[in-house]
Symmetry: C2
Subunit: 336 residues, 2 copies
């Protein structure tokens, strides 16, 4: 209820002694304005401290320079390195492109206000498939981050988590490990499933099987990593290497090992996934799989914007390959 009448385009026009059309031209950098008028208008804008009304512009233009960003609101999401990187990337891109960022944290069931944005970025697909379908049906371009979507014709940019899981297993096998365990991520998420799938595939290639005891289900939380690690250590024949499906979890694995006096990498190799800078500052720096979350989020916004402006055509689909980052937490096994 901004009561006090804001200064409008008409005030500027009056002061500059031109029509509102000319003022509009100056605002929008339309070149056909005489230097003389240009200067007068600029003076007036500065003097009156005029700012165009974004809503009126959007209405008149029929397009929307805001993009929506929808994140699943499951508990703990904000404590993850993952979510925070995405927010940073999206935020940065919007800043650069001068787009308004309309943020939605949602459980996937409430309605999105699609009319206030030109396009929507969805971080992951969990419970919110319906929202994506509704937005698409309403003609709003959507872009899904961090999910490879094969059963819907939609724009996405994802990470090849199968390749990532495979890379982790491969590295450990190359080092000579034979008893390699995985602590999975949340298997409700595609990333959790795919990392396991890639890991299992590589293990099967070499050893023919991945035993149940070597496959502990986690959910990306530190707590689940602790429980899984303890189970692994209590095994009659514990693993010589552990692949934790996120750096956060790997850090907890490291903590448990440390508490029990098990040396890394001498007595146990640990590999993570994410390349979270937190994992650099412990006693041993963590070997991990790097995934470019920030860049992915940034590119998602840039491409979505191009699509909204019809400078790019749909569907835009891209898969990024995560890469091994060797640091200090893995070595050849001392025992077999």
């Amino acid at each position: 209820m901004n009561k006090k009448r804001r200064v409008g385009i008409e005030d500027v026009a009056k002061r500059a002694g031109v029509s509102i059309t000319t003022v509009s031209r100056v605002i929008n950098h339309v070149p056909t304005v005489s230097p003389r008028n240009q200067a007068k208008v600029e003076e007036a804008i500065a003097a009156l401290n005029y700012e165009p009304d974004a809503n009126a512009q959007r209405l008149a233009r029929g397009l929307n320079n805001a993009i929506g960003f929808v994140m699943p609101g499951y508990p703990g999401i904000f404590y993850s390195f993952y979510a925070v990187e995405l927010i940073r990337g999206v935020g940065h891109a919007c800043e650069t492109l001068r787009l308004d960022l309309v943020f939605h944290i949602t459980n996937g069931f409430n309605d999105l206000n699609t009319s206030s944005v030109g396009g929507i970025v969805f971080a992951d697909i969990i419970e919110n498939r319906r929202q994506i379908e509704a937005a698409s049906a309403a003609g709003i371009p959507c872009m899904v981050i961090n999910n490879i979507v094969s059963d819907m014709m939609i724009n996405y940019i994802g990470i090849d988590n199968v390749a990532g899981g495979r890379t982790a297993a491969d590295y450990l096998i190359q080092l000579g490990h034979k008893r390699i365990a995985i602590i999975t991520g949340n298997l409700q998420t595609q990333s959790g499933q795919h990392r396991l799938e890639g890991f299992r595939g590589r293990i099967l290639d070499s050893f023919g099987e991945l035993s149940d005891e070597m496959c502990q289900e986690g959910d990306y939380s530190r707590r689940s990593a602790r429980i899984a690690t303890e189970k692994l250590l209590e095994l009659p024949n514990p693993p010589t290497a552990i692949f934790a499906s996120s750096d956060d979890m790997a850090l907890e694995v490291l903590a448990v090992l440390n508490e029990r006096g098990i040396k890394v990498p001498d007595d146990m190799s640990v590999i993570g996934f994410d390349d979270n800078p937190d994992s650099l500052y412990g006693q041993v720096s963590l070997t991990t799989i790097h995934q470019p979350l920030f860049q992915m989020a940034e590119e998602a916004v840039r491409m979505l914007n191009a699509i909204v402006l019809q400078k790019e055509k749909q569907p835009f689909q891209k898969v990024l390959i995560p890469e091994l980052v060797v640091r200090d937490s893995c070595a050849a096994p001392k025992r077999i």
Copy 2:
């Protein structure tokens, strides 16, 4: 550029056989509509899958059901428990109040698009004083979170960090400690300054002075906490207790102590600040000072919205008191 002509209020009116005004009334729950027309309009809305255009509504109403949320964009902000709690709180409140959340991560120098929001929440004041002044001058209600602002007539909701710092020192003194060190937060921030101020005040009360060596400057990063802890431990006469100005930092202190085989709380007491759940899962759970960040952010949005709707008058100013949470990382000193 949502090309395809969306279904508008006129289409609904036509189909329902009423005027657009009546449709508008239904949308806005104006009670003076006959049940008969009400039903017809509702049918038409459902059939056409009509959704009102948020921009047009805002323009016509002259008010804005979106609020802005401005966060300082300094590096690392998103890795802090602090920032994430605020985002969660603000996000949740907007969800509840059905407000659009326009998110800005800013260095404090670029301009804010004030015209697209009804009010703005500023998380902290760092470099962005100018933005707050500009928005206020433009008549946009502002609410500052986590800062007690005495030199500006502005709405704020803050935390009494002086009291928090004092409480931490007091608890340690009560336990019998005499050599108590502080690792400060970023002293550019008010919270960093105030926690130090409160801590120092209480120390001075009991001991008359706080030596330089017992006061290590940090910046809320884990790295700075590590460096500070190392300095403290190398002292000829190290402290028996350490107050870290954030839980994140306290966790790093714990990590360093653990690496050196120093037992907590037997050989060293450690107290943090925040009440970050991460600090529950280590070997010792952290004694800390709880600050209600989530609630603060939520209330900020709620009050700001009330102000925008002129249901509450300005300035709204409130200070929350942080509280001691006793867990396992502090005990009476064994040595003096």
